[in-house]
Amino acid sequence: MPINALHEEGFIGRRDALQDLHRWALDAEKGSGQSIVLAGSPGIGKTELLKQFFTHLFWKQDAIAPFYYSVSSAILSVPLFARDYLTRFLCQRLAFENKEESLLYLEGITVRELAAWARDRGAAWAGELLDRFQRCADDPIDMLRVALHAPLQSALFTGKPVAVLIDDFHKLARLHHQGAADPSLIALFESALSAKKAPHLITGNAAELQALSLPGVTWVPLRPLIFGDAERLFSAVLQARGTAAAGVPPALLDLLGGNPLYLRCVAGAVKTDRVSGEEDFWSAYVQEVASGGIYHYYAAALKTLFAEGGERRQALEALYGIYESEGAPLEDRKLKGPDAGKLSPALARALLLSGFVRGEFGGYRAPDDRVMREFISRLYEREIGVKPSRDVRQQAPEQRFSPQVTGNVFELALPLMPQAELVVARSLEQIGRNLQVPEDVIGQMQMAVIEACINAIEHNRGGERRLFVTISAEGERLEVSVESPGRDFLQAETGEPFVGTALREGGPRGQGVKLMKRFTDTLRYEKTGRGTRVVLGKRLTRTSEPRKENVPNRE
């Protein structure tokens, strides 16, 4: 499980935090351990810190046995969870004795197998625990109890304390039992959390953890990296990628706020083929927040909270309202943001738990995280479509990277609704005539464009709702671009659309790409600040012919 921790050298900063954790472990060794919650904003590196700490404890000392467990959404039924928890603990605990790495990776071992195996190694106590566990098979709550107290039991039997590191602890609120989620099951953790010889270090979504109100645990904040460490991390990632890039703008580092997730994503997106200028760094940032790693991170979070339709829209509007009012002149006497009363309690709660806003004594506050806010703003702009009055600084990257358009260029922005592609086709016809493009060229381009639009509509399931089309005729070329803010279905290396399930299965969409290629001279895909763009080009001379026979009109 913990194998995918970063290499020690790749883990930068957190000197203070690691010191704290070591001190915590020492306390545990002395038998006076205390359970703590490691809290911090999303992407701040809680999981990575836990993994690093585990790695250190496992390999570099013998006094205290570490146990790392990351709660999975797939394993939340009580019996399953209990069994998973117990078996993993025992594997790691037994592995610790002789530093056996292979044991750490043991998956799918049954309880009986493990019991036998433990006894072979002289760990009778483990065997006992497993036997007891099996005897509880018809009482899931008992199973849970046995599992949760296993670390303490081992400490008592072997005399060696255990450091229990649990990631994504908040998910345990959804532990379910006989079909129904039962948040009170968490209470069973309470006595485990108070075990001095087996203290717990838990982490997860801070807002949700707060809602769990765990008694007797200390909250330890994990702060963003300090500027110096942030810069080192960024440079380290660039170096690891072998780029010649240097000189990340301080303003960008400030914006990324010392958040390791952001730093790694953006550093990972900087173009590596040449020495980068300032623009390249900003471009990487915009890309990541609009459609890259950062985007996906938050889009996933949003999706689990707000499924579709009305609730999602309401949430976005509420968030947007709160964010915008933060930028309002501070002299305003009234409390900003939507009143708690206007949002439904469920929605308000969900918003708070999402971490996209903070609750403040009866009101709401935007988080300090500007990147998070940028994500929401862009989402809002796309889905609800109102131009925000944003900070000029934040507009700058966008403006920098909008395509320079000169000459005869027509731009369309369309809502993604059924048969929008027909609107495009009609417009293309009209515009083509205005630009004096030959009829057959228009006709072929129409085919390709329709296909491109349909692709765009198909591929974006993220809820965005607009298409941006530009049509230009310059010199010898007609060029149409179709841009949709959407899921990254672009595979960077090939420049081809992602050969996803539809294509692999030989489905209809797979034909679409061939079609587009047939009717155009040039076809390319680009990542833009807003999403993905497909650019279709045709020469305007009369000699242009479709390469194959016509495909029946989709209409």
Binding site: Q210, P221, L330, E331, R333, L352, E360, F361
Partner: protein
């Protein structure tokens, strides 16, 4: 993370409020306290620029008292009408923008802009307008949350009370100082007036120039020697200065007459204590005994004095001291009708009259004082300044008795 963070910040602000409370009531100077208060408050909200103005009701203006980041505007004064004051919310922060239509804010738009005043709190203590605090833009550019607004209100209350108290205290201190000054002035006026009188008295009589001074001098020396309190000594000094005020009335000719006085003239002179009394009784002295001394300074313990022929038991010490002093000076000064007695004679005369004309005890004290001075051993003010020559002669004449 959210709520915990804000709890922590609230805690920080609360401890800052405690700091504020301690600061404004500390023993430091007013200006320093106010400045520190501004720093504490701006520290709560990360505000780089702020200004504290205190209202001067006499000038009807706000005077800059302390601030941060606004040094060049230190001597600013903003005049404020009471109608303006009424429009201000009390101890409640408000954005200055909202007050655009209020005359005061229009008038001083420029200055307020220079101060970067964005938020203002009008400070009131018990309905009395104390001043205003202006805060500039926060470093974070963030809006104030309700909880922060509340903290600011509390801080404003504390600040208003502190300034108010400091003012009251200062006013009282000022009053006390003023009273003291008045008192000293009065005293001075008294003395000057009295001395003017004394001069007038003495001017009437050529031979008694500075007589009043000397009598006052002797009398107060005796009183001091007898352990009298400072105010009492002062009283008898005054009495000494004024004891012959009655003489102002008496005709100059009579006083300076060369030959023997007629009985009528004697009568007239005898009247002077009475006249003194009548004049002086119209004046209010801080020492009530003064008038009494003056009236009776010609009395004698044996009852043959004037004007009231009081006996020993009716005479106060002050009267007796004054009587002795007066007589002593008469003896040792030239008169139109006789020359002065030599010091030895005067002393003998006093000894002789102790118990009859003069009080026995007081005479003894006086003589002892004289002896000390003659021997050169006196430790107070010298009594016999004017008679140094005489002293020498006295010593020589009287041999060992008066020598060391």
């Amino acid at each position: 993370m959210g709520t915990r963070w804000d709890l922590k910040r609230m805690l920080f602000n609360l401890s800052a409020l405690v700091d504020l409370g301690q600061e404004v009531t500390s023993a430091k100077g007013y200006a320093e306290r106010m400045r520190t208060a501004v720093y504490v408050i701006t520290g709560m909200f990360s505000v780089p620029r702020a200004a504290l103005f205190v209202y001067d009701p006499e000038q009807r203006a706000l005077v800059h008292v302390a601030g941060k980041g606004n040094e060049e505007l230190q001597d600013v004064r903003l005049s404020l009408r009471s109608s303006d004051v009424q429009q201000l919310p009390r101890n409640e922060p408000f954005p200055i923008r909202d007050m655009r239509t209020v005359p005061f804010f229009q008038r001083y738009e420029d200055i307020l802009a220079k101060l970067d005043a964005r938020v203002m709190v009008a400070l009131f203590a018990k309905d009395e307008f104390i001043g205003v605090l202006t805060l500039g833009r926060r470093l974070s550019r963030k809006t104030y949350l309700r909880s922060e607004w509340d903290v600011l209100k509390v801080a404003a209350h504390q600040l208003a009370s502190a300034v108010h108290n400091a003012r009251l205290f200062a006013q009282h201190a000022e009053k006390a100082r003023e009273n003291k000054r008045l008192y000293e002035d009065m005293r001075r006026i008294y003395h000057e007036t009295i001395e003017a009188f004394a001069t007038a008295i003495d001017a009437k009589d050529e031979y008694t120039k500075n007589h009043s001074y000397r009598v006052a001098h002797y009398a107060s020396a005796i009183a001091r020697q007898m352990g009298w309190r400072k105010e009492q000594v002062e009283a008898i000094y005054i009495a000494g200065l004024l004891h012959d005020i009655g003489k102002i009335i008496i005709d100059r000719k009579v006083i300076n007459k060369d030959s023997d006085l007629t009985s009528q003239e004697k009568e007239e002179i005898k009247n002077h204590p009475q006249v003194s009394y009548e004049i002086l009784s119209k004046i209010r002295f801080p020492w009530k005994e003064v008038v009494h001394f003056i009236r009776h300074h010609h009395e004698r313990p044996d009852g043959r004095g004037y004007p009231d022929a009081l006996g020993e038991k009716d005479l106060s010490d002050g009267v007796k001291i004054l009587a002795l002093s007066d007589a002593f000076d008469a003896m040792t000064s030239d008169r139109p009708y006789r020359q002065r007695l030599p010091l030895a004679e005067a002393v003998r005369e006093i000894e002789r009259c102790a118990g009859t004309q003069f009080d026995h005890h007081i005479s003894t004290v006086f003589i002892k004082m004289l002896e000390q001075e003659i021997k050169g051993k006196s430790h107070g003010q010298p009594i016999l300044e004017s008679m140094k020559m005489e002293i020498k002669a006295f010593r020589d004449a009287n041999g060992p008795r008066y020598n060391a």
